[in-house]
């Protein structure tokens, strides 16, 4: 048994039992971050804060929300919005955060792609990040069902129908997922469970994995430089902070990180108070009606690009293209055949690949929003082909890349 002595202070008492000093050192004061980074490196913290906002606002919404097809709509639009003191605040925070979190996720992802932060030992960071993206997508979808408005119902109908697998015609599977022939009480209840328990648990676990995956390869930097973290840390600890290439996570890095978070939060609450409507589709303010489709069904903006890959093709081809779009980002570390982990601007053809991919996804997003009429249908079709083509081209253009 370990030897315990009479504690000299509360801190000492805790330290003997929980090793708080060691924890603090390992997790904060001697967790090293490269100096050579920019504000884009703060997106991880911005995401963590946004997740916290979602969690807290969600807890308050959960106290009044009713997962029942007859009561859900009013519990959100009447009880929470009109009766509960500051209920509107939680709802608007929750809705805006659900939308903005995807904007930050996309920035975070494209930062990683641009700086090559998914290779040379950082593959697991990328993969766990993509798993988080999938979990957040499932969380967003299940949450969208809960107000039980027209868009909830019809998005639920269309998305669960995807599981029929087109010509495979697996209607049994679709009915199994729904617990009914159409989205109804069983459906609402199970998506409620997923939204408030199972998926958040998975997200919290994945965040742990994501952070853990970062420890051994460390955070990348603006030049993709391979840093000897031990040597640089030794310099820092010896007092030579100027020439050391690293800084401590706390307080050095955190102070700047929180500065970015502060600016972000001002922007965020500006949206919550003055522009929350962008995250609230007017169609969803009509109660769900299984006998009336809204004239134009579209998902929230963050799913539009993949929706647009589904749309221009016939069912089966569309489903295959859609499935391709869902998994292909996972394979990025393996499809990129070049060993160079430097910014895209120094990588020859990959530079064009990066910007083409980004612009193509913006075009897909825009085309997913407009009704399926010409010329948008054709533009969407070619943008979808471009998306697939770019991924097929990736291994070839990176294979012949010169060593940077």
């Amino acid at each position: 048994m370990a030897h315990f002595t009479k504690a000299t202070s509360l801190h000492d008492w805790l330290n003997q039992r929980l090793a708080v000093d060691t924890l603090r050192r390992v997790l904060a004061t001697e967790y090293w971050i490269p100096k050579n980074i920019n504000f884009l490196w703060a997106m991880g913290m911005v995401l963590a804060i946004t997740f916290a906002l979602l969690l807290v606002s969600g807890i308050f919404l959960l106290m009044y929300y009713q997962p029942n097809v007859d009561l859900a709509f009013d519990s959100v639009n009447y009880t929470i919005m009109q009766e509960v003191g500051y209920g509107w605040l939680w709802r608007h925070v929750h809705g805006v955060a659900a939308s903005v979190v995807f904007l930050i996720i996309y920035i975070h992802m494209f930062t990683g792609i641009y700086y090559g932060s998914y290779k040379k030992g950082r593959e697991m960071i990328w993969i766990s990040g993509m798993l988080l993206f999938v979990a957040f997508s499932a969380e967003a979808f299940s949450g969208y069902m809960l107000p039980w408005g027209q868009m909830s119902y019809w998005a639920g109908m269309v998305i669960t129908n995807l599981f029929a697998g087109g010509s495979l015609h697996a209607d049994g599977l679709v009915e199994w997922i729904r617990g009914d022939y159409v989205p109804a009480q069983a459906f609402l209840n199970r998506f409620f469970m997923l939204h408030v328990l199972l998926i958040p648990l998975a997200i919290i676990g994945l965040i742990g994995l994501h952070f853990g995956a970062l420890r051994i390869p460390h955070v990348n930097n603006q030049d993709g430089e391979e840093i000897d973290f031990e040597a640089e840390a030794a310099k820092y600890k010896a007092g030579d902070k100027r020439s050391s290439k690293v800084i401590a996570f706390v307080n050095d890095f955190m102070s700047k990180d929180m500065m970015v978070v502060g600016i972000y939060l001002i922007f965020f609450f500006y949206l919550v108070f003055f522009h929350y409507d962008f995250a609230m589709d007017p169609v969803n303010f009509d109660p769900a009606n299984g006998l009336k489709t809204p004239t134009h069904i579209y998902p929230e903006w963050y799913f539009l690009w993949s929706y647009e890959i589904l749309r221009p093709f016939s069912t089966n081809v569309g489903l295959i293209a859609f499935a391709f779009a869902q998994v292909i980002f996972f394979l990025l570390p393996f499809l990129d055949r070049s060993p160079n982990a430097v910014p895209a601007s120094r990588r020859g053809l990959f530079k064009y690949w990066f910007w083409a991919m980004l612009i193509d996804m913006i075009i897909l997003t825009a085309m997913g929003k407009v009704p399926p009429v010409e010329p948008f249908g054709t533009i969407g079709f070619y943008a979808a082909l471009t998306f697939i083509g770019l991924w097929i081209a990736l291994p070839f253009i990176t294979m012949f890349e010169k060593k940077a």
Binding site: V158, S167, W176, G179
Partner: protein, 176 residues
């Protein structure tokens, strides 16, 4: 050595017990997600076919799904007659022909709208189109509107029961 093989055995024994338990638990979980018997026994819907008017789309409800009923006019029936793909899809009750379909687009399940002047359906979700018999005329829907199980009973139509006419449609692949 002896020791470790004994531990190995214990490990395998535990693995076997846990494996059986895991399979059982998964089965129970799968069953808990199944539609409830009360949902499955959602009964039958009986339609009185003499009440419908020519070329006027009426939406009924069966198992929570919209059912399109469209009584064909004389000219529509003649047009359908000329096209075997169309006529097979119609149900004859008395002297009249009816289109009776599940009103969900076979692409991804939106409800198409009917234009009685053009005698066609348009699905606003992704632009799919069907003619007045529910046959698909423009992709992305992969096939015509599905026909629910039905049985002709004099002037009535019972949805949910499989009559000989429905069985024949299924065999010939008119509907799934």
């Amino acid at each position: 050595m002896k020791n470790s093989s004994r531990r190995g055995f214990m490990g395998k024994a535990f693995g076997a017990v846990a494996g059986v338990g895991a399979v059982g638990a998964l089965y129970a979980m799968k069953r808990s997600w199944d539609p409830l018997p009360s949902v499955k026994a959602a009964g039958f819907t009986t339609l009185d076919m003499s009440a419908y008017k020519d070329n006027e789309l009426i939406t009924e409800k069966w198992r929570g799904k919209p059912i399109f009923v469209l009584k064909q006019t004389k000219t529509m029936a003649e047009k359908a007659e000329a096209n075997p793909k169309d006529i097979e899809r119609l149900i004859k009750v008395g002297d009249s022909y009816f289109m009776v379909c599940i009103g969900l687009c076979t692409h991804l399940g939106c409800i198409p709208g009917y234009n009685s002047d053009e005698e066609s359906f348009l699905c606003a979700c992704h632009g799919g189109m069907y003619d007045f018999t529910g046959e698909v005329t423009k992709a992305p829907p992969p096939r015509g509107l599905d026909i629910p199980p039905f049985k002709v009973d004099g002037n009535k139509l019972v949805l949910g029961e499989e009559g000989p006419e429905y069985k024949k449609m299924k065999e010939t692949g008119v509907t799934l």
